[in-house]
């Protein structure tokens, strides 16, 4: 994390107080909390890779292409299965590509949807080019402006745990943003879309 980045984030809601954490550590902590076969949609790239590394649950869907669509996919699952909680794990660059989806989520207001945003301020997988969230854009403020009232920065690991617990129990939609470091993901996913999709449908009880 560069000095200039931390200086330029001071105007953001909560972000200036947020500790820079590690994506894989937080992903592990998140997955450990999932006790009710919650569905998890991993966004393209490192969000996906760390989800894979945290344990290959049958309720995980690993999105291999279609950058920006993790939250829309999660919304679709949440609509189809209102009794199951659904989480989307998305990077800052991916969310910036499809910000409009936050307005759709806010309009439909599914209680069973939680959006996790890993904000490292870079397009990590393409070589670390800066995203707008590194300097001027605050993703939590944007989410609130879109109508997601339950949107917050995780101040540290314990705060992240608390926010996730609240999202899973109190109902959403909720957006939790975490500032994360630039460490690469610890593994990569399988690359077979049909198998990933079929396993996920079995995990959701749609197929046997």
């Amino acid at each position: 994390m560069s000095q200039s980045m931390s200086q330029t984030q001071t105007g953001a809601i909560g972000a200036h107080n947020a500790k820079i954490m590690n994506r894989f550590t937080l992903t592990q902590r998140l997955v450990d909390k999932l006790k009710h076969d919650e569905a998890v949609i991993g966004g393209i790239g490192n969000a996906n890779f760390d989800l894979w590394a945290a344990g290959q649950r049958p309720q995980n869907f690993y999105m291999l292409g279609s950058m920006g669509l993790a939250i829309p996919i999660a919304l679709g699952v949440a609509i189809a299965q209102p009794k199951r909680h659904v989480l989307a794990l998305e990077g800052d660059g991916s969310l910036l590509m499809q910000l409009g989806c936050l307005t759709t989520v806010a309009t439909l207001a599914p209680k069973n949807l939680t959006m996790i945003v890993w904000d490292n301020g870079i397009y990590q997988i393409t070589g670390g080019q800066p995203t707008a969230s590194a300097s001027t854009a605050d993703l939590v403020t944007i989410a609130r402006g879109c109508g997601i009232a339950n949107a917050a920065w995780a101040a540290d690991e314990d705060d992240f745990d608390r926010l996730v617990t609240a999202a899973l129990s109190q109902g959403g939609p909720t957006l939790i943003a975490a500032r994360v470091d630039e460490k690469p993901a610890v593994a990569t996913t399988d690359r077979d879309p049909v198998r990933i999709r079929a396993n996920f449908m079995v995990g959701l009880g749609v197929r046997t």
């Binding site: 569905a39 949609i41 869907f61 999105m63 291999l64 292409g65 279609s66 920006g68 669509l69 993790a70 939250i71 829309p72 996919i73 999660a74 919304l75 679709g76 699952v77 949440a78 609509i79 189809a80 299965q81 199951r84 499809q98 409009g100 989806c101 307005t103 759709t104 309009t107 439909l108 879309p193 049909v194 990933i196 999709r197 996920f200 449908m201 959701l204 009880g205 749609v206």
Partner: protein, 176 residues
């Protein structure tokens, strides 16, 4: 279709969706599709809502299918031109039977050059992706094409595009 009075095209589309248990309807608005969208909103069988982009609707319909709910997208020709990446990297490789309804602009009296040009990209893209697609010009063929093709999409786990020609819908005419 037991009703004895002749139905208009949008009533046939709605009836075909309902008969095939397609409950989720996403759309980016289009003037020609307006009566269909209005009727879908008015029918509590359907969950109908607008998305900000067609791509977003692709994601939602994909998620819903994986969760056990059938879904469709309504859009116009220019909207189709925004989704080839989502089709090629999500819908086609994951074998998602997304149902695409495209209100055809750009032909048979188009007044907007941009619409006329983007229209020319649609069928080559569909063919390049190997996607089943039907251009529907006749109301007497509409119910058959929709019913058979929706069933085929589900059975073969493949998306399908229905291009609704101005010959069917009347299209959009130049404002005098």
């Amino acid at each position: 279709m037991s009703d004895s009075k002749p139905q208009v095209w949008h009533e046939i589309v709605l009836a075909s969706l309902k008969a095939n248990n397609v409950k989720l309807i996403t759309y980016v608005p289009d003037r020609v599709l307006r009566p269909l969208i209005k009727a879908l909103h008015a029918d509590p069988f359907f969950l109908t809502f607008a998305t900000t982009r067609e791509e977003e609707a692709i994601g939602i319909v994909t998620g819903a299918w994986m969760g056990g709910m059938r879904g469709a997208l309504l859009m116009q020709t220019s909207g189709f031109a925004t989704i080839p990446n989502a089709l090629a990297s999500l819908v086609c490789p994951c074998q998602i039977p997304a149902l695409l309804f495209v209100s055809e602009r750009g032909t048979l009296g188009e007044f907007n050059l941009g619409q006329a040009m983007v229209c020319k990209t649609m069928r080559p893209v569909l063919d390049a992706l190997g996607m089943e697609n039907h251009t529907i010009t006749r109301q007497d063929e509409l119910a058959f094409i929709l019913d058979r093709s929706i069933k085929q999409a589900v059975a073969t786990q493949a998306p399908v595009a229905f291009i609704l020609s101005p010959l069917l819908t009347g299209g959009k005419v130049f404002a005098q």
